[in-house]
């Protein structure tokens, strides 16, 4: 079964450093997403991406965050200057169209900011 893959599985970074989380969505999917989950809390929407541009973003997704699809397969989330409160599990997800099709999630990248 096709799956969304994410790297790294765990990253520890110092506060103020830049972090890039990488994702390979399911190959025929066109819609890509990042969600995050702070330990013990609910999963929260960050951003959706379609046709090489952001289609929607949440209030969490401020100027410190950016997304990019640098080639035909990767989808990245960059955090420019990490803060302690950015520590969370970051999930990449994809779907093949926006209208009610299943959104498949990756296994997540656990980010710890120290």
């Amino acid at each position: 079964e096709p799956e969304v893959t994410q790297t790294p599985s765990h990253q520890v970074t110092q506060m103020g450093q830049e972090v890039i989380l990488r994702c390979v969505p399911i190959s025929n999917h066109l819609y890509f997403y990042w969600y995050r989950q702070i330990l013990g809390q609910k999963v929260e929407f960050l951003v959706s991406f379609y046709n090489n541009e952001i289609s929607e973003k949440s209030e969490i997704f401020d100027d410190q965050f950016s997304v990019e699809r640098p080639d035909g397969s990767n989808f990245t989330l960059k955090i420019r200057s990490t803060k302690l409160e950015d520590s969370a599990m970051y999930f990449c997800a994809s779907s093949d169209r926006v209208s009610g099709n299943t959104i498949y999630f990756g296994e997540g990248s656990w980010l710890t900011v120290v």
């Binding site: 609910k42 299943t102 959104i103 296994e107």
Partner: protein, 113 residues
């Protein structure tokens, strides 16, 4: 405002029993609902979904019920197995835009032998 919540934070059941996990939502504009299962250290795994023009949908050992009158969603798991132990999240999506899923707080299901 929009919110999706779960009535019970933890549900303990005996292996072989049926499980019912409940969810309340407040956004009447939502028309697509999904149940996800999340095992420890893993990403949310799709279980079953339902659109607002339906009130029941069945999958393999799972049934989702939607009551739009009281804005209530439930997940029924038949013959619960140890492998069903996980946190279960309901999520809703607003009409016309399934980009942004709004997740509930989660219910932990513990299955005892």
């Amino acid at each position: 405002g929009e919110s999706v919540g779960l009535h019970l934070p933890t549900l303990s059941v005996q292996e072989g029993d049926n499980s019912i996990i409940n969810c309340a939502y407040s956004n009447s504009a939502s028309d697509y609902f999904i149940w996800y299962k999340q095992e420890s250290g893993k990403g949310p795994q799709f279980i079953i979904d339902i659109r607002s023009n339906m009130d029941k949908r069945q999958g393999q050992r799972v049934t989702v019920l939607l009551n739009k009158t009281v804005k209530h969603l439930s997940l029924q798991i038949a013959a619960t197995q140890p492998g069903d132990s996980a946190v279960y999240f309901c999520a809703e999506a607003p009409s016309g835009g399934y980009n942004k899923l709004i997740f509930g707080a989660g219910t932990r299901l513990a299955v005892h032998p």
